[in-house]
């Protein structure tokens, strides 16, 4: 899979919106591209990255699947790196550190909704990516 500057920028934008709900600025895009550019990606990792680049729902599903079945895979690696950059960088860190909070009851309700969404995304992910990983062997 080619990692052209355009595709890396597109990928960084989608992933940043998935992680903090905001598009990345030029400095984040540049840091992301310089860290991940030039890596060869194959198998199920390639499918997961392609799905993630496709948009919000694709990212949600690819993330849910990748977290469980390709934890050290390329998508998860890129997302962790981007999260690390965003948590240090204004204004993104404020989204992560100081979200709207609603006390224990609100938090538990929020966590339940998020948990249900995650389970749903995982089910879709298993259907979509499970066969790809089986066909690709170890998926690497």
């Amino acid at each position: 899979m080619s990692d052209s500057p355009t595709s890396l920028n597109r990928e960084c934008d989608v992933l940043a919106r998935h992680l903090v709900g905001m598009s990345p600025d030029a400095a984040v895009l540049q840091r992301y591209a310089s860290f991940h550019g030039g890596r060869e990606v194959r198998g199920v990792d390639r499918a997961l990255l392609a799905a993630a680049r496709s948009g919000r729902i694709g990212t949600l599903v690819a993330d849910a699947y990748g977290r469980r079945f390709r934890r050290a895979g390329e998508l998860h690696r890129r997302m962790v790196h981007l999260l690390a950059v965003l948590e240090c960088t204004p204004p993104y860190f404020e989204r992560l550190d100081h979200p709207g909070v609603g006390g224990p009851v609100g938090a538990i309700a929020y966590l339940c909704v998020m948990g249900a969404l995650d389970v749903f995304a995982l089910i879709v992910g298993v259907v979509a990516f499970g066969p790809v990983q089986l066909i690709a062997g170890d998926g690497s």
């Binding site: 550190d97 224990p104 938090a107």
Partner: protein, 533 residues
């Protein structure tokens, strides 16, 4: 020959040994590799202000080479040291160590390993000193002295049976909301918890100031402890070194690595041989008395290399010790959905003591509530996808905490330090005690029950055992004893192999209780200086 005492190393032991000698009118020549801490960036800014104002905050927090980035499945610990503390662990060319069962960390920084400590200052009590040739009566006054020098915050509370109370104790630093809730929950159940679990909780003893002291300000809650306190409210040995350098009887030679103590047949160190870090030129220093304070491993390296050069062979040193540490993350349900406090003291503010049948079974827990630490190592360990985890983390953040559980260690002959002369390499081998898994299982089970009683959940799957060596509480190898051979030291710290060589760091500790040893390193070095000079 100079009448100055040559002190090798500027860590916690070395600077307090030197300060005591200076106070007693002696002259001191300190030899040190001395990697220097870079000046703190924007020293009055809070952590959030740093993130907002630095040109490249990601480079500051993650490092130019992304060295603080914890990637998935990397088998790393939750956290490493931040890039601003790289200078503490920057390796020294030519200084090689091979280790089995042990992950040794050595420091060549000005101030040594304690430049990266978390300030826990816990005196050993008499039962813990039972295997030593000295008692609390010998160390107690020196704890007082060190506490008066550096300033320690804390209070006499439920933990006093585990930590003797000493002079120079400032009031505790203001407790954050999470810590306050834990304390309130504990106070409601303390009798039951003490009786049922033998467990007590109280305020941590910290070498961090709640009041101005000796030219240093009180903690100003910048939230930057993890990256290195920019105001020196958190004590590090470099503070004392800076004070010593203003004294006319103190000479500091930086940029030299001691390679050998030349030993005469008559049992004396005749000169100290060192090589300059820049250029490698050899230098020699002569003094009537020499004190090794290079840390347990550093001192062992110098001593074994010296013995090898003197006799063509060097013995192996048994009895290396370190505190095993286990990390127990927990969630305080009462703190879910609340805001965390970034502008507050970041290291542990509470401590837990779990009684044991003997002092060796005592377990010491340091309770840290999560505030400004990087979150990406934790988000990826949640059982959710990363995007969901990142969004959910904001609701969890203030509720998260960590107990760093410390276990005691004792000397065992199989845990050895040797010197391979052909490769000029220190060889370290360590194996834990056979009963360690059972001790850890027992203690973590007790602490999990204790935390549950305080309204917290500590998921079993998130508890992690740190590798041996990670706590950097190295000790043993040449224990102090009332009598013994060449591989022991006298109770006043003199090595039995040479009449003018003192071992003033942890290498002489005969036993290692389940506590941070740094405060005792400073007190013991002070004691040796007072008794021997």
């Amino acid at each position: 020959m100079s009448d100055a005492v040559i002190v090798i190393g500027s860590g916690a032991s070395g600077v307090h040994f030197a300060q005591t000698l200076i106070e007693r009118g002696r002259r001191v020549l300190m030899l040190d590799i001395g990697r220097v801490r870079p000046p703190p960036v924007a020293p009055t800014s809070t952590l959030d202000e740093l993130k907002r104002t630095l040109d490249d905050p990601a480079a500051y927090f993650l490092g130019e080479r992304h060295q603080a980035l914890v990637l998935p499945a990397s088998d790393e610990e939750y956290y490493g040291f931040p890039p601003s503390k790289d200078y503490v662990f920057e390796p020294l060319e030519g200084q090689r160590t091979d280790a089995r069962g042990f992950a040794p960390l050595e420091s060549f920084a000005t101030g040594g390993l304690a430049q990266a400590w978390t300030g826990g200052s816990y005196p050993f009590h008499d039962a813990e000193l039972a295997g030593w040739p000295i008692s609390y009566d010998d160390l107690g006054p020196r704890y007082d002295t060190v506490a008066r020098r550096i300033g320690i915050s804390g209070m006499e509370d439920d933990l006093a049976p585990f930590f003797p109370v000493h002079d120079g104790l400032q009031p505790p630093i203001g407790l954050d909301e999470h810590g306050s809730r834990l304390m309130r929950a504990y106070e409601k159940k303390r009798e039951n918890l003490r009786r049922r679990l033998g467990t007590r909780m109280g305020r941590a003893r910290l070498a961090a100031l709640s009041q101005p002291h000796d030219g240093r300000p009180e903690c100003s809650n910048l939230g930057r402890c993890l990256w290195g306190c920019p105001t020196h409210a958190l004590y590090t040995p470099a503070v004392t070194l800076g004070q010593l350098q203003t004294h006319e009887n103190f000479t500091y030679v930086r940029g030299v690595a001691v390679t050998e103590l030349a030993l005469s047949d008559g049992g004396r160190v005749t000169r100290v041989v060192a090589r300059e870090i820049d250029g490698g030129a050899e230098r020699t220093f002569e003094g009537d008395t020499v004190a090794l304070a290079a840390g347990a491993l550093g001192s062992a390296r110098i001593l074994l290399a010296s013995l090898h050069r003197a006799a063509g062979d060097a013995p192996e040193l048994g009895g290396l010790m370190d505190n095993r540490q286990v990390l127990m993350p927990f969630v305080n349900l009462g703190m879910l959905g609340r805001r965390f406090e970034p502008d507050s003291y970041q290291y542990h503010q509470l401590a837990i003591g779990v009684e044991g049948r003997t002092h060796r079974d005592y377990v010491h827990g340091l309770v840290t509530t999560l505030k400004t630490a990087l979150i990406h190592p934790l988000v990826q360990s949640l059982p959710t996808s990363l995007g969901i985890g990142a969004r959910a983390f904001g609701r969890l953040h203030a509720a998260l905490g960590l107990v760093n559980v410390n276990f005691s260690d004792h000397r065992r002959d199989g845990n050895r330090v040797a010197y391979d002369a052909e490769r000029d390499t220190l060889v370290v081998s360590y194996a834990p005690d056979a009963d360690e898994p059972a001790r850890i299982a027992r203690a973590t089970s007790t602490l999990r029950t204790f935390l549950r009683a305080l309204g917290c959940i500590a998921p079993k799957g998130m508890t992690r055992m740190r590798p041996m060596g990670a706590s950097v509480h190295y000790a043993g190898c040449i224990p102090m004893a009332e009598s013994g051979g060449e591989l022991t030291s006298t109770p006043d710290g003199r090595w039995r192999g040479a009449e003018n060589l003192y071992l003033v760091d942890g290498i002489t500790f005969p036993e290692l209780p389940a506590k941070n040893l740094t405060f005792t390193l400073m007190a013991n070095a002070t004691r040796i200086a007072e008794e021997a000079f």
